[in-house]
Symmetry: D2
Subunit: 308 residues, 4 copies
């Protein structure tokens, strides 16, 4: 591995290389609050198990966590339910768009995995049903992982999601019709949209997920966030399903467990090493940030991080 | 890692532990020639990059390679076509049964990946079109990788496949109707069934794929079998799609690139270490050998081989 | 045609012939309120254009109108929207279960026809949006068509539907996500479930739909209920799609436009002659009443009513 | 009904009205032999039960029978197999494109009805298996129905179909994989393409199908071509499924059992009256002739032929 100074300058250099690609993507516009973000923002950060954080660009500027919130929700749900969770949601790649209702119908209300929308809504149902104040519990969890108290949900994004969430409502009601949602659907959706609306920055996000690269233990606090087996499981799911319908291509090119969100961020876990985050709002047709994907790909190449 | 003697006795011990599970599966019976194999056979082998081979059970008894042949075909095709190949076949997990015609129709004749049947038939088309005698070329490739001259296709299995291959014929004609098959369909199917009918044993199979754990270089001969990038790519595909519709669960439990075949074998690649093979004919409902899956899972646990 | 006395005794005779088939079906049990109906009830009625009504069995006992309500809703919507309606709902047979969400997804929120659930919910949206008090307007329409003031919605059935309507909610939210529902989804569903819960008997139902057999004119009052073209259109839709996934078989066996409901009733239109209704709660696997279907089939044979 | 002279001049007049629409369609080009037909051809003919034939335009010019051949094949198959036929093919509308492989997969190799491609290939299998020389038998049947000896298959079209028939081959092999095709697939396809390639003209076609408007009896010869029940059944199938994915719209607009072919012809059965045929090569996006569809629609309006 590189020295620290080298690493920061490498990040800087790769950021400048990849930044121009932003014009090839399109900022998510399905909700107005997301559509307003400036497309030129870009950032990258690496947090390593030894406690260091390196970054370049707008790495302390907040973005919308969106689907990356599915990782945190999943870990919280795994901590409450054991194998029962895997009766209600599968762990297989979907081979379908992230919000496919067709597959959910075929598989009788059992989502393919917890990081497609249906699966994350099911996880939200678990949180609503098993935490007394699930929205607060989610924020508390993130504050604990980042050591920052100012992690919050963006109210404008949250309300915007609620208003434009008809497709997610359809997924939720379909699962409820199969008996796979316990709580009232509106409560489940509120939780889900609230966690999606979390505002966070690249440095915070990278640090927050170090436990996944460290067998469940958060390095700073030495706290066991989840079991070693569950850290492994989360990485496995991210590796086959984290990048929407580009998960195979990401494994092909990068070879790391990763998750993207329509806010334009991507996070990649490097077992035994650390966590990489990158952010740039414009998305490709699969919903993945063009710049962030290229950045992480180049960085993984440079540092030889592929698992394969 | 363990000492050699320890490793052999560990294999022995795990084989005896897992062997009784054979009664939970069912030997593939869609072709008569496969249905005749005795369900009690079981074997496990590890070949490591340093040239050692350890095994237990029927590790020198031949079985039918079946879908594991897709790995070899893919490497051969990658060596002839470059990115053109990835215009004709995708690299995403399928989220569908291995022989799904529905997905092939939706995606207009472009198979989801090269290790589902449609993808492997497309690869067979590449081989038929780009090698002068593709069936012989395939066997020659395996002989070169194993250093054994007595690798052959089982004629009874081959003829049996040809006779019962109507579904694969449907996949091939559908791709041809979309213009994605170049050669005559009967020739393509002949190649495909011929490579599936290859007879091989666990020790040979483990040794043959060492190059995938070694960045494309076969350790014994030091020959570059494929580029480093392509070795990485094959592992990535196996990791998201190699275990049929249990690929996610396998990543979850084992965390290694792997491929199974309805002959009852499973092969798992351990980058920088070696290759594990296991064999026992009875299959679970996903088409994966019950005993082989458990064996490899336990072995990966014992040796701490998971990538995650 | 037969004399009146003959017709009544024919109905009597066919009812006794077909009644024993009730044991081959199963009363709808997806909502508790429907599951309580006694399976032995059976009735048949014919209303003819000359004003006569013949019946046998429990022809004045109320049953739940359920999907047959879709006819009335459709006529009301056609009277408010012209071709605009057919931009929002198609007129093709579905080839899918009546509540299929898969097809709705494929066809981007445009239901296949107005007598599958998604289509009828879309029609409910039209009614909610274009009538000031749509639930009352629906009942008023039925009262006008039957000349009976005591047509009402069964409150127990209505509440039961609301509580168990998650799948219909999924259909509605999915259409809303495609921009094909104007009103608030809960209001649309309330209307839909309310009209489904209408209580009516065989004699009333037969009389109420005479206008469809008479080019849009209700014979008693001589009122033009809908245009001649729209009466024709409704019959055409019922003829290709009215009997769920048994529409083809019904055309095959009976050859008349018809609609069934899970309350156990079936209504068949005989252009230029009259309307037949039959009722018996136990349903076959397609959701059609076993006894009512056989009764109408035998009656059509006896009277030579097939259109073909 | 009109007098004869009136009828001929009405046909003439409607033909001139509708002919200009030909520019809105596109001649079928999936096989070269069909693509060569001049788009300006247009014809209409009516044969009535009393033995008269009226026509206008190119009513004695041959066109390619294509999918309309499915009617004749079906009648021949019904004459050999009784209810066994309906175990192997369903009678429901498909709600899918005419050559959908997805639905065939879902329904385990049982085609939805005998007038989509899969169903007609299944019927071809019945003919190949139950007639000693099925291609000749098919032509003999048409010669008998028309009283013309010069009915033949166009060899250029036939060979062209064989060469471009990969999708139909996929359907056939898929059915064979489900055990629903008895004969060798290439033989079945040869028969199917041969019957599609039949050359016929509007007058001949109208006369040939009079038995369907006459309860199974061919008026000229007084021969019972099929049972009354089977004539009824064929009309029922045509009425729900004869016009591809525009069957519902055709029922809506015209209200008659009908079948179209990509050669540009449409035939409509008017029970108890006669048969209408119209022909003009350019097709709309559903595969139905633009001019022929409008012509038959206008004619049915003028003569009040709708069944509803």
């Amino acid at each position: 591995m590189k020295h620290s100074a080298d690493l920061t300058s490498l990040l800087q250099q790769l950021l400048e290389q990849c930044r121009p690609l932003y014009s090839q993507g399109k900022v998510a516009n399905y909700i107005p609050a997301l559509a307003q973000v400036a497309p030129q923002h870009a950032a990258v950060a690496i947090a390593t198990l030894d406690g260091q954080v390196h970054s370049a660009g707008d790495a302390r500027l907040n973005f919308s966590l969106q689907s990356i919130s599915k990782i945190f929700g999943l870990v919280m749900a795994m901590n409450r339910l054991d194998d029962e969770l895997w009766q209600r949601v599968n762990m297989e790649p979907s081979g379908q768009p992230f919000n496919s209702i067709v597959q959910l119908e075929w598989e009788k209300g059992i989502p393919r995995n917890p990081v497609i929308n249906a699966g994350a809504i099911l996880v939200a149902d678990v949180l609503v049903s098993h935490y007394s104040a699930s929205k607060t519990a989610f924020l508390t969890f993130l504050r604990r992982l980042t050591g920052e108290q100012n992690i919050y949900a963006d109210q404008q994004v949250y309300l915007s999601e609620l208003e434009h969430g008809n497709r997610n409502a359809a997924l939720a009601y379909l699962m409820k019709s199969f008996g796979n949602i316990e709580a009232e659907v509106p409560l489940v959706l509120e939780h889900y949209f609230h966690q999606c609306a979390t505002a966070i920055n690249c440095e915070q996000l990278a640090q927050s997920l170090l436990f996944l690269a460290n067998r469940g233990v958060q390095p700073g606090s030495n706290e066991q966030i989840c079991s070693r087996r569950d850290a492994h499981r989360v990485n496995a799911i991210l590796s086959t399903s984290g990048m929407y319908d580009q998960s195979g291509e990401f494994a092909f090119k990068v070879g790391l467990p990763a998750k993207s969100g329509v806010g334009g961020a991507i996070v990649a876990i490097v077992p035994q090493f650390g966590v990489i985050t990158a952010w740039s709002p414009p998305l490709n047709r699969f919903g993945n940030s063009v710049v962030a994907m290229q950045l992480i790909s180049n960085l993984a190449d440079e540092l030889g991080l592929s698992l394969f």
